[in-house]
C-alpha cells in the first residue's frame, strides 16, 4: 500500500515536471501571454514617466504588442529605487524600465551600488541634448569666450543648472569644458537650483545655465537669453534652435547625449529579449512614434541592445573620468 502511494507520488511529480517544461517552452513561443509591468523610476509627469507612457501608448495603439502595458511609478534615490526593484524581477521578461544618463551617474557617485550592468539593455529610443545659455546682456558672445575666461580663471564664470552637483547638467558642462582645454574643472563653480534655474539666469544671478535644449526655446524666442551652443553632434532641426551652433562647430570636440532607453530585468531570457528589441524597432518606424517625438521635441535615435550596451560601457568610462577629477567618484 505504502509502496504504491509513493510510486504514485513519483509519477505525479514527473507529470508536474513535464507540465512545467512544457509551460516554459510555450511561454517562449507565445510571448507575451500576459500583461507587462512598465516602470518609470521617477514621479508622474517627469521625463522618464513621459517616455515610457508614450512608448506604451504607441506600442498598444499600433498593435505591435497585444498585451496591456500599465505604467507604475517607482520614484526615489534618483532612479536607484527602481533599479533595486528590478533586481527582484530577475529573469522576468515582463518587467520593463526606462532610464537615461543618471542610471550611470548614481552608480559612479555611490548613490547605489547597482549599475547599468544590473539591468538588461533593450534599446535606446530617443536623444535630447544639452544647451548652454547666457543672459541677453552677457559679455560672452560665443562658447569659446566662456572657455577662454575659464582658462584664465576657472572661478570667473558662475555656472548653474537644475540637477545636483555631479549630476547631468553639471557633467554635460564639464564634458565641454574639459574638451575645450580648461585645466581646473574642479574649481568651476556650479550652483544647483532645484526650483527656477531659468529664472536665476534671466535675473542675472548666474553667468551660464547648463540645461536641456527644450527648456531654452521659449526664452530664446522671446530674446530673453542667448544660447551659445548645443551638445549635439549636428545642428538640431527645430525652430529657433536651428541657429545655435554645436560644440564641434565652435571648435570643442565634445558631445553630450541625454539618451533615454528601455531596459529589462537582469537575466532576461534571450528569446524574449530579442522579441522586445524587434518590437521597439518596429515601433520607432511608425508614423505614430514620429508624431510623439515631434510633439515632445525628442530626437529619434534607435539603437538596439548590443550596440546600446557598448555605448553605455563607453559613456561610463567618460563620466568616471570626469567624476574622479571633481572628486565625486566612489568606487563600488
Amino acid at each position: 500500500m505504502k509502496r504504491k502511494s509513493s510510486s504514485l507520488l513519483a509519477f505525479g511529480l514527473l507529470a508536474a515536471l513535464f507540465a512545467l517544461v512544457f509551460a516554459a517552452s510555450a511561454l517562449a513561443a507565445d510571448f507575451p501571454s500576459r500583461p507587462f509591468e512598465f516602470i518609470a523610476p521617477g514621479g508622474a509627469g517627469g521625463g522618464w514617466d513621459t517616455t515610457i507612457r508614450m512608448t506604451a501608448k504607441v506600442l498598444g495603439e499600433t498593435g505591435i504588442i497585444g498585451q496591456p502595458m500599465p505604467v507604475f511609478n517607482k520614484p526615489g534615490g534618483g532612479g536607484g529605487v527602481g533599479l533595486a526593484y528590478m533586481q527582484k524581477k530577475k529573469g522576468d521578461p515582463y518587467s520593463v524600465i526606462v532610464y537615461s544618463p543618471p542610471l550611470i551617474l548614481i552608480n559612479l557617485t555611490g548613490q547605489t551600488n547597482l549599475s547599468f550592468k544590473d539591468v538588461t539593455p533593450l534599446a535606446m529610443l530617443i536623444n535630447d541634448f544639452g544647451a548652454f545659455a547666457v543672459p541677453k546682456d552677457s559679455p560672452y558672445r560665443t562658447i569659446e569666450d566662456v572657455m577662454e575666461a575659464l582658462k584664465k580663471d576657472p572661478k570667473s564664470v558662475k555656472t548653474g543648472g537644475n540637477s545636483a552637483f555631479g549630476s547631468m547638467d553639471h557633467i554635460q558642462f564639464l564634458v565641454a569644458a574639459k574638451a575645450a582645454g580648461v585645466k581646473d574643472i574642479k574649481n568651476i563653480p556650479y550652483i544647483s537650483f532645484q526650483e527656477g534655474p531659468m529664472a536665476a539666469l534671466m535675473g542675472g544671478h548666474i553667468d551660464l545655465l547648463s540645461t536641456g535644449m527644450a527648456e531654452t526655446v521659449g526664452p530664446l524666442e522671446a530674446g530673453e537669453i542667448r544660447v551659445l551652443a548645443l551638445t549635439s553632434s549636428t545642428r538640431v532641426d527645430a525652430d529657433v534652435l536651428r541657429e545655435v551652433p554645436t560644440l564641434k562647430e565652435s571648435g570643442i570636440d565634445a558631445t553630450f547625449i541625454n539618451w533615454r532607453g528601455l531596459f529589462g530585468a537582469p537575466g532576461m531570457p534571450e528569446q524574449e529579449k530579442a522579441y522586445m528589441v524587434e518590437a521597439l524597432k518596429k515601433m520607432t518606424e511608425t508614423p505614430e512614434w514620429n508624431d510623439v517625438c515631434a510633439k515632445n521635441g525628442w530626437v529619434k535615435a534607435f539603437m538596439p541592445a548590443d550596440e546600446f550596451a557598448a555605448f553605455l560601457e563607453e559613456t561610463n568610462g567618460t563620466y568616471k573620468e570626469l567624476l574622479t577629477e571633481i572628486g565625486l567618484f566612489k568606487a563600488q
Binding site: 508622474a44 529605487v81 545636483a164 563653480p189 550652483i191 529664472a199 535675473g203 527644450a214 510633439k295
Partner: protein, 500 residues
Amino acid sequence: MELIQNLFLGFSIALTPLNILWMVGGAVLGTVLGMLPGLGPTTGIALLLPLTFTMRPETALITMCAVYYGAMFGGSRSSILLNVPGDGAAVASCFDGYPMAQQGRAEAALAISAIASFIGGLIATVAFVVVAIPVARFALRFGPPEYFMLMVFALSATAAISKEALFKGFISLLLGLMISTVGIDYQTGVLRFTFGMMELQTGIDFVVVIIGIYGLGEVFKNLENIASGGGLQPIQKKFSRIWISMDDWRRSIVPILRQTPVGFLVGVLPGAGATIAALMAYNNEKQLSKEPERFGKGAIEGLAAPEAANNACSVGALIPMMTLGVPGSGTTAVMLGALMILGLQPGPLLFQQHADVAWAVIASMFLGNVVCAIVNIPLAGLLVRVLAVPPRVLYPLIVALAFVGVYTINFSVVEFVLLVIFGLVGYAMKKYKVPTAPLILAVVVGSAMEQNFRMALMLSDGRFSVFFRNGICWVLFALAIFSIAWPFLSSWLKARKAAI
C-alpha cells in the same frame, strides 16, 4: 480700454459649453484631490496629462488651472475637520480651523475657508490682469541671497507662533531643521543622514511629516481618551447651514484683504510656495491682532487669512510660467511641459502670438473661482457630517487615510515607518505642550534656506556682504527683526500702558 477688450475676448472663449464643462470637471477633481492627504495639484495635473493632449490648448490650460486652484479650496477641508492637512498649503488652516470644529463651529469654519479662498483667488486674478508682467520682472531680481532673507523672515514667524513657549518652540524649530537636512545635498552631491537607505536620498517629504505630526499625533492623543472608555460621543450631532455670522464676517474681512497681496507676491516668486504664503499670512495676522491670545484657539480670522493667501498664491504662481515661460513650482512645471506638447510656448510672446489662449485662461480663472465656491459650499455640508461619527470609528478611518495618503507620495512602504515615527513625535509634542508649528515651518523652509545660503556664498566667492546687496535684502531683514521683536515689544507696551 484694450484690457477690457481682451477680457471680453477671453470670456467669449472661456464661456463655450465645452470649456465650462472642463472647468467644472477640473474644479471638482481638484477639490477632491486636494481633500485627500498626500494627493495635491501636481498629481491631479499629471493624471490629466494624457487627456489634455486631445484638447485644444486653451481648454487644456483652463482645465489644469481649475485643478490647481480647486486643490487649494479642497486642501483645508481635512485640516478643519480632522486636523490632517491635505497638503503643505493647508497646514496653517489646522491652527484655528480644527479648534473651531472641535468647538462645534465647523460650519462657520468651512464657510469662511471657502469664502476667503474665493475672495483671495478673485483679487489675485484681478492683480494678475493688471500687474502680471511688471511683477514677474520684479520677481527675477530674487536670487539666492534674497531667497535666503525671505526664508529667514518666514522662520522668524515662529517667534510669534510660539511666544508662549519660547524655549520649547526653539527645540521644535531645531528638530524641524534637522529633518530638513536628510537627503542628497544638491550643492556637493553628498548624501546626508540617509543611513544607506535609497528611499531617504531625496529627503523626507514634508507631507509625511505633516500628516504624521498632525493627523496621527492627534489620533494617538485621543487614544488615551478612548482607552479610558471615552470616544463614544460624536463631536457634533446637529448641523446647521454652512454659513457665517455677521460678527465672523467683520472679524475676517480685513485679514482676508490684508493677506491676499502677501499670498500673491509670495506666489510670484519662483522659489517660495503656498505653504510659506499661508504660514506667513497666519503669522502676520497674529501679530497684527489686538487679541493674539485668541489665535490657535479657534479664531476665525486665523483661518481666513491663510486660506485667502494660499489661493492668491496659486494664482500668483501662474505668472512666471505664463509671462516668462519660467515654472516656479512642481505643479507649474508639469503644466509648462503639457503646454509645450500642445505646441504652445509660454513666455512673453504668449500674449502676443496666442492672445486668445492667454486671455481665455485669465477669464476662466474668474469663472473658476466662482465655480469652486459654488461646488465647495454644498460639498462642505456633506463633509461636515464626518463629525457625527463617534471618535472610536472616526480615528481608525483617519489612520487609514493617513497611510493611503503617504503611500501615494512615493509608492513605497518606507513612508509608513516614517509616518508612525512622526506620529509618535507629534504625540509626545502634544503631550508635553511643545508647539508643532515651528517644526513644520522649519521642515518646509529649512532645506531651501540652507541651500540658498550656500548658493549665495558660492556666487559671492564667500563674501557675506552678498546678503545685504540690495534694498530687497534690507527690507526682508528689517521685517524679520521686527517680526521677532514685535511680540515682546507689544507686550512691553501693553504692560507700560497698564502701569500708567
